[in-house]
Symmetry: C2
Subunit: 318 residues, 2 copies
């Protein structure tokens, strides 16, 4: 599917950082940056710009904070036409500490929020846009958003200086028809104002790539993926599959395959992500992955049937 408007964003380091407290070694970050650059990926997201008041540098690695000097060091000497992005979370960032774009190698700042926090997200976006950055808003846990709330949010966002607003299926709960519905809803409010629809899928039901395709078919143009699908819990849409699908001659698959071979196969021995039954269970039940992650960290990590029964009874609220 060749459409010149399409922008691919690699969030390997940022979303992958959710499974190791952003403690990636410099060598790994440089390898990812080099591979994505050689592959022609449009944006490379290197981490969060979090406030150290909320996250201790003793626990979290440097990609939780993305100090300007650390980002510059990681990319130093690597040929690249890719732009650099970071993410900020509402209420966990010191907006005053973000330097003006002209003093930074970061090109885009993405604001992650729930639908209830869209007003705060707009304030964050404006602050970043005023400093000269490209911006997006990423509405997380979209599978739990009520449509009237979402429509109200999208109406407001149509007048905000963002490149794109993302559908973020944090729980990996959505099926294709729900993706189709959401893309159409986003487009209705955003496209007339020149704002693109973005898609960020989790892979709990092995639909990370399939749902990304469905979003593309319906008009989403900002596409998130991670190398070898790394990311929290079940992980994300795999970059290698997405680039092969897009067929745009500007993308090269081989650098991604190469870095999977050299960096991700060894890493997968140490960190867990991907299609694992407890994550599949939270996906089908439209639940946060936290219970599945807790299960996988304990001795009962393969007690799937019991976990399912517990998750079902937890879902019985009425």
């Amino acid at each position: 599917m060749f459409r010149p408007e399409i922008k691919v964003l690699d969030c390997t380091i940022r979303d992958g950082g959710l499974i190791n407290e952003c403690n990636f070694e410099d060598k790994f970050v440089r390898a990812v940056y080099a591979a994505c650059s050689a592959a022609g990926v449009d944006y490379i997201e290197v981490g969060y710009q979090a406030d150290k008041k909320f996250f201790s540098p003793d626990k979290y690695g440097k990609w939780k904070f993305c100090e300007e000097s650390d980002v510059r060091k990681a990319i130093d000497g690597i040929e690249s036409k890719s732009k650099i992005s970071t993410m900020i979370d509402i209420g966990r960032v010191d907006l005053d500490a973000i330097r003006p774009k002209k003093e930074s190698v970061v090109d885009m700042i993405r604001v992650a929020c729930y639908v209830k926090d869209v007003d705060k997200a707009i304030q964050h976006v404006k602050a970043c846009a005023d400093k000269g950055y490209e911006t997006t808003i990423n509405i997380m846990a979209i599978s739990t958003a009520l449509v009237p709330d979402l429509e109200e949010a999208l109406k407001q966002l149509a007048d905000v200086p963002v490149k794109a607003v993302y559908i973020v299926d944090s729980f990996g709960a959505l099926y294709s028809e729900q993706i189709h519905f959401l893309v159409a809803l986003y487009k209705k409010y955003l496209n007339p104002k020149g704002i693109e629809v973005g898609i960020h899928c989790h892979n709990n039901q092995q639909l990370g790539f399939g749902n990304t395709i469905e979003a593309i078919r319906k008009g989403a143009n900002y596409l998130d993926a991670t190398i070898f699908g790394i990311g929290r819990a079940a992980g994300n849409c795999p970059m290698e599959l997405l680039l092969a699908f897009l067929k745009n001659p500007k993308f090269k698959l081989e650098p991604i395959l190469e870095v999977i071979e050299t960096e991700f196969i060894p890493l997968r021995e140490k960190l867990e992500w991907g299609y694992i039954i407890p994550h599949m269970i939270t996906g089908i039940l439209n639940q946060h992955p936290r219970d599945a992650m807790a299960l996988r960290a304990g001795k009962d990590k393969d007690k799937y049937a019991q976990f399912y029964r517990n998750a079902l009874s937890g879902a019985e609220l009425a």
Copy 2:
């Protein structure tokens, strides 16, 4: 998606048998049969009915041949409302050796063929139907079939006594729009004659489940899946995901989760299947999985970039 016409077929033992020469232990086969029965799966495929002239019983296990006594022993004492199916391959079966349905616990025989062999498949189907079996035709490697050949085949199949004709994406190469096209083409010829469309997807691009959903949306009613996605190379559409999606109250997820926990997690330590980069590469290139399987059996099993370059140059024919 609740549609009463939908029939789910588990081919765990049959397609899974392609990675261990059908050498599953009785205990495992009984566990799969019990789980699928308790889950309410409509058909359970226990293996091939191959001719021992072509396959040595020294190398291949009993599920390559499905002797009546072996099948009866495997299901003995297990409560089940599921029907039993076997598969035959054109030219590798002794049709005269297939006993009449009234002497067999097998309910359905599925004939696998390439589009070029449809005439032979029709002959096989008629022989099995005459003996009293339900039948299907499964057109393999559909991603390499030329449309005029396929249309000619479908025209012929419309007058054959089959329950369903399957789209079999053997190479895991298809995307959703191609699935949509094929389902519509099959339906055009087959539905007016009361023949259903079937779907059997491989998971090379993590689209086994996603493409099955797309086929369902467009009207396919015979759905193949395997527990935990077991199957040749990248494996198949996972049964646990399919049942959770279908939401038909007759299906129960818990028995499938239970058998994954007890049987499939240990088995996965010994047998390899699933999303593995060489299989992804043959999928995106629409190639047979044999080269990837050979790579995975050797010392260079993780040399992805080199394998990709070789596969590309192998694809340069002109």
